[in-house]
Symmetry: none
């Protein structure tokens, strides 16, 4: 019935299925049987491709990183790069259900042992690091308000993304998502950038 596939293919399928399930249904349904069902194989077969559930969780983290990194990156000036990053993350909540919520949900970190929190922290830090580098460069180029605390601003930017994400999840956005994405970035922008003559 099911076509036989290489372990490599299966591993990817399984990780994707796991992400989908955790995102849509929560950790409670992150089970071998549920994943197998999603992939279209039997539950025992999962363990032909992964040693145990722990290994699957690690694969989920890897896949998550891949997906996040696959986001479009601008090559323009630092504020433009930041804009593309922020808008892409804001937008992804509408499109890639569950991926972002997974990233910020603390759910995976407990599914692993001691290394769990570290791995998830590392993943989240990549975002922070990117924001920080954009802001640093923008500051050097005089694009930011002069009194701006870069580290405070990093928390502001990364936090706003989360704020948007959870508001969307809660159905608490006061306007359509698309519009709010733009307004959100505008607010961020005028909080950070030096007053400009042209918008």
């Amino acid at each position: 019935m099911t076509s036989r596939k290489s372990t490599e293919e299966r591993r990817k399928e399984i990780a994707d299925a796991a992400i989908k399930i955790i995102g849509e249904r929560g950790l409670r349904e992150f089970t071998a049987a549920r994943i197998a069902q999603e992939v279209g194989i039997k539950d025992g077969t999962i363990f032909r491709h992964f040693k145990d559930m722990n290994e699957i969780t690690l694969a989920v983290l890897d896949r998550l990183q891949e997906l996040l990194e696959a986001a479009p990156r601008s090559t323009g000036d630092p504020l433009e790069r930041l804009e593309v990053f922020v808008l892409s993350r804001l937008h992804s909540v509408t499109v890639q259900r569950g991926i972002q919520s997974l990233l910020f949900s603390d759910q995976l970190s407990h599914a692993l042992g001691a290394e769990g929190p570290k791995r998830v922290a590392a993943l989240r830090n990549r975002g922070r690091e990117f924001v920080r580098s954009c802001l640093r460069e923008a500051a050097e180029k005089g694009l930011l308000r002069e009194d701006l605390d870069i580290e405070g601003a990093v928390l502001l930017v990364t936090g706003t993304v989360m704020g948007f994400l959870f508001a969307a999840t809660d159905g608490a956005l006061p306007a359509p998502a698309g519009e709010m994405e733009r307004r959100c970035w505008q607010t961020l922008r005028s909080a950070l950038a030096r007053k400009q003559v042209l918008s």
Copy 2:
């Protein structure tokens, strides 16, 4: 063996133990046995005080709300009220381990049925609503920058709290928590407030 306590006391103990466990160890260990162990009773005994796990989860939500609502509230001008609110939330991460991360972690949502997401959303909305009311009043009193988008700002403020929270969890704060709390609020403040003559 174990000292006898009233159901009322036990219910509180159980809810607190549950919060502690979910915060520290994650939903995976949010089990009757684990809670019972923490409280110092047998697992079956849990169900003399709660009908089922679902009811415990609801109690956790209630307790969470209590704890959050217990935060100090200023009676001063709207920006001052906002400051007290934000600083208290930022600070609580250091003090009340796991409580806030629980609030923003999407973990409880899935532990309940259909009402789950609604209840958690409602809890989070109380924060948003408070922030919104402060900002509205501040705007009316001319304390905010004139072009400020209130709804964007709500996401900014509530998001920044989350950003701080997760950065702290990840060990990604570039300075001691106390200092970062202050810098974080300063950044927020200057993003929102009208330029002042005196700081």
Copy 3:
């Protein structure tokens, strides 16, 4: 709240409640908690009046016997006594829900240990014995068909009561219960009795 009552009173209340529950809800709900609820006391209190559930089951048997024995008994000729007995049993199914079904349901015999089947058998034998004695006397008085096998007839009579009972339970009576009771006895009577000139 609950008025204090003597153990003797409580024992009767508890046995009655137990009969009611088993009859109406089945052995599955024959639990201390359920009985206590019915009586209006707390579950632990049950065991102030009965050593254990086993003892309650025995009390149920005793009470059952009392109830069955309380049925009206005619003092007329043997066939008349039989008629009163049969009609009373047939009728009781409509009135005393569950009592009869309990008697024939084999449910209690397993709720006790080894003595269970014996006790229930003894209870059922009282009915058989009564029927047998009526038939014997009727035979001696020449009221029965001459070739009638008394022991076969005992099974016929007691069985027909059961047949009626289960048919009623199953909603399989082809006419109203009252009418069927009469027709049932008529059928029995003409199966047993010598042809009569007068009805």
Copy 4:
């Protein structure tokens, strides 16, 4: 360890084990653990073959029907068919311990939800219907006593089977089972059939 068998085989084994247990030990021991022990597997394994206990109970009903329907059926005249039916049911009590008592014991009814009583009633009605059809045909062919009330007779016949059954269970048969089976049918027969020249 245990030999592996197909789910189909296991389902049959489990249903049979369940029938055996309920018949011999009562509903109280109708547990997954007990069934598993009987079948020779672990209790969790039961649920690879059945969704839950409810499904097992339904399987028991199906199996019961199969067993009852497997009884020999004569093709002769209606009274002969009735005789074969009655004798086979009377005899089965000796042979198929517990099956009949299960059928008439009301025990399964309560093990299911709302559909329980309906299913059991349906099962019992098949017997009644068979008896009714035999009697109707016999009446048309003039084989029965002229004044016989068919519906009363249905209760008489099906009831007598039950009467015999319970008497046997109670050890209240006054003669060996084999002999009583014959006497029981003779009594029934002369209660129903038109007087014949030849026995």
